[in-house]
Amino acid sequence: MRYALWLISLLLAGILIAACQSPKAPVIFEEKMMVMGTVVSVTIAGEEDKLSNKAFHDLLTDFKYMQAAWNPWKKGSLARVNQLLPMGPAFTIGPGIKDILERSRILAQKSDGLFNPAIGKLVKLWGFHQDEMPEGPPPSDAQIQKLLTSGLTLDALTVEGLSLVSRNPDITLDFGGFAKGYAVDKAIEHLQRLGIKNAIVNAGGDLRAIGSKGDKPWVIGIRNPRTEGIIASLRIKGDESVFTSGDYERFYDYKGNRYHHILDPRTGYPANETRSVTVVHGDAATADAAATALFVAGPKRWEEIAKKMAVSEVMLIDKAGKILISAALNARITFLDRKNLDITVSRLVHE
């Protein structure tokens, strides 16, 4: 009797000690907002509710502002620029537009023009510029070729100080290919200015994460483009972005054909060799632009463009469902069902 009781006491003491050892999970704040045409989720770890709430509302304001400012056609900063560009003479632009324009120019150059914000008119022709999905029919070949021949490229634009002029009246700017990334970067910077060190800003599935969840890293699940399930998971190290461009995000079906929103600037048609591209990189703007560019590059040129854009962690799923993944990403990603996937690892040798 006596010994049994000692045993019970020890057992309970053991539980108590074990409970003390378990690492303290930090307070997690998670809220969602509907903005920028998608659901943006903000996760903050280890901060007081008051700060997290303020941060969330600040970001809501930021995103709403950015959404209005960068809409290519609806009243706002970019719409104004797009109105003035075809008219001819130089005009003044705000520092905000200048910054995003210059950022996009660098990325466009590095991507060999596969990421191209100068194709606003082409996007509009296809109907992907608006919030609602177009219903078809798709534009005619003649219409498309007419736009392409003029050479829709940022090279036709010259910026001097705050003055902008265009040599090609067919050019209007649409930053859709990296606007989400750019916005997420701004959001993270805002959080950092508020002193927040551990957070995730997830704009409709594309995210940037900083810090960690207590002493455990943030764990990101990557969803299969064709089914609902998760195909792989990734542990975030430090400050990283995970962006995916897919053919399932914005599209319409017309007469049995599917037309999605990632247009190949060279052909004027939706790029059709790829299902999705996932890029893991430091800043979100680059990750977003790279995901767009590599989607267009397709299985044939993705390695080349990835090297040029200096992104080393890439996963591309082609139209047949085959997975092409860079060695660097392959080393740290965990596929949930590896043996049932067709995976080819590529050594993107650069630097």
Binding site: L5, S9, L12, A13, I15, L16, C20
Partner: protein
């Protein structure tokens, strides 16, 4: 002309004061020890309460317990703080449990509880009361409930430890007033046997 009220301590007062001092001393030393989880202390001072109860009855034990909480908090510096509210309510409810146990023992002497069982009941009541007060008045948050199992385990363990110690001490010091079997707690309710008791 107002009369100066002179309080002359009688022997029982002195007895209670001494035991209370002992309990307070234990309490203060215990509060200096670090604890892995805030609010979880072995509560060894309760041993004094139990032994006083065994020998001098419930009222004396109540005095010792309350004095321990009040004076202890004065010394440690938490008087009238939320911590105090917790200690106090915990102590009060534990005393009610003590009363209930005494009643139980009186009614069913054959199935009486020893100090061991009573210590466990008092310890768990104390912890549960504190938890309830925190939950209702201070932090009505669901995350708090995750702590409950751990706290109650601690209360159980420390109840076992205190019970064991109390039981042993009472046996060795032959504290049972009525010299009955040390296994069963039979509090003395024959107060006239306490030397110098004039107040009842």
């Amino acid at each position: 002309m107002s009369e100066i009220v002179k309080i002359t301590p009688v022997r029982e007062d002195i007895m209670i004061a001494r035991f209370a001092a002992l309990a307070i001393g234990i309490h203060v030393i215990e509060s200096l020890l670090p604890s892995p989880i805030p609010g979880v202390k072995p509560g060894f001072a309760n041993i004094v309460t139990l032994l006083v109860f065994l020998r001098y009855g419930l009222e004396a034990a109540a005095w010792v317990s309350i004095l321990r909480v009040v004076v202890g908090s004065l010394i440690v510096g938490t008087f009238l703080s939320p911590t105090f509210a917790l200690s106090f309510s915990g102590a009060v409810l534990s005393l009610f449990v003590l009363l209930a146990c005494a009643g139980f023992n009186r009614r069913y002497p054959a199935h009486g509880l020893s100090l061991f069982g009573i210590a466990i009941l008092m310890s768990m009541t104390h912890m549960a009361t504190q938890f309830l007060v925190v939950y209702v008045f201070f932090i009505p948050h669901n995350a708090l409930l995750d702590l409950l199992p751990v706290m109650m385990s601690a209360a159980l363990i420390f109840g076992l430890v205190n019970g064991y110690i109390s039981q042993n001490v009472s046996t060795r010091l032959d504290m049972s007033r009525n010299h009955v079997s040390h296994d069963t707690l039979m509090p003395s309710d024959d107060r006239n046997k306490i030397p110098g008791n004039q107040l009842k």
